[in-house]
């Protein structure tokens, strides 16, 4: 189409739950014949690592439902109340919550982050890594997947100035 719509996303969060929206929206935009760019900054930057190690932390998401991915339908619909004093202090609680979330997503036919990221690249979504954050957190280009561009605020804004949709996630 003559008038190609443009999507610009800033991905600033690196937990498993927050990793989904940028990759879902960018891959879908590309599937809808739009141009899409994701600018990875601060805690979003590790999402470009070859191995994604994103976890979810119920401690910092007070409204997050805690549900089990197995058992009867009634059992699975139970929301287990876990006080912050427990979720924030039990070692390995985040690992368990991450495992449960991944298992639930798999059962519901939701793509993995790696899968969505791969489809983004296949569809031509551009990934830009924030150079400044790389310096600050000590990331090397070798740690990231191939095909990543590097730049700063001006690089993102040059593209976003002509974008039809701009999102900060």
């Amino acid at each position: 189409m003559a008038d190609t719509k443009k999507l610009a996303i800033i991905a600033s969060q690196g937990t498993l739950d927050w990793a989904y929206p940028p990759f879902i929206l960018a891959s879908t935009a590309a599937a809808m014949d739009m141009e899409a760019v994701i600018f990875f900054t601060f805690y979003g930057l590790p999402l470009l690592k070859k191995e994604i190690d994103a976890k979810v932390s119920p401690h910092t998401n007070p409204a997050m439902p805690m549900k089990m991915p197995f058992g009867s339908k009634d059992f699975q619909s139970i929301n287990w109340p876990v006080p912050n004093v427990i979720s924030g202090n039990i070692p390995g609680f985040d690992n368990m919550a991450t495992m449960l979330m991944k298992e639930t997503f798999k059962k519901k036919g939701v793509a993995t982050i790696e899968q969505l990221r791969g489809m983004c690249q296949e569809f031509g979504v551009r990934f830009i890594a924030c150079q400044m954050t790389m310096e600050v957190f000590g990331f090397e280009k070798e740690e990231f997947i191939d095909g990543v561009e590097y730049g700063g605020a001006a690089t993102f804004l040059e593209y976003a100035a002509d974008a039809d949709i701009s999102l900060f996630i």
């Binding site: 891959s27 599937a31 809808m32 739009m34 296949e122 569809f123």
Partner: protein, 78 residues
């Protein structure tokens, strides 16, 4: 309703948003203009999503039918 023959079939049953859309895009890319893709999905959200996708991309959503929670879409590539 007479059956429209499809050139390609894509099974997205059991998959959730946005996979049916992403897989449909890939499948439609492999077809020639005017050819028909038949996609089946169980994600109830795919009904509205397929409509939006077709509107945006210009491919024609020829028909949508539903039988025992399986949605069948016929799409003609533009």
């Amino acid at each position: 309703m007479s059956e429209i023959a499809s050139n390609l079939e894509l099974n997205c049953e059991g998959l959730n948003c946005p996979l049916p859309i992403l897989k449909t895009k890939k499948a439609i890319d492999s077809l020639n203009s005017g050819e028909i893709l038949k996609m089946t999905a169980t994600d109830p959200g795919s009904v509205n999503d397929m409509e939006s996708w077709a509107k945006r991309t210009g491919h024609e959503l020829v028909s949508h039918t539903e039988a025992s929670n399986v949605h069948t879409f016929l799409i003609r590539k533009r």
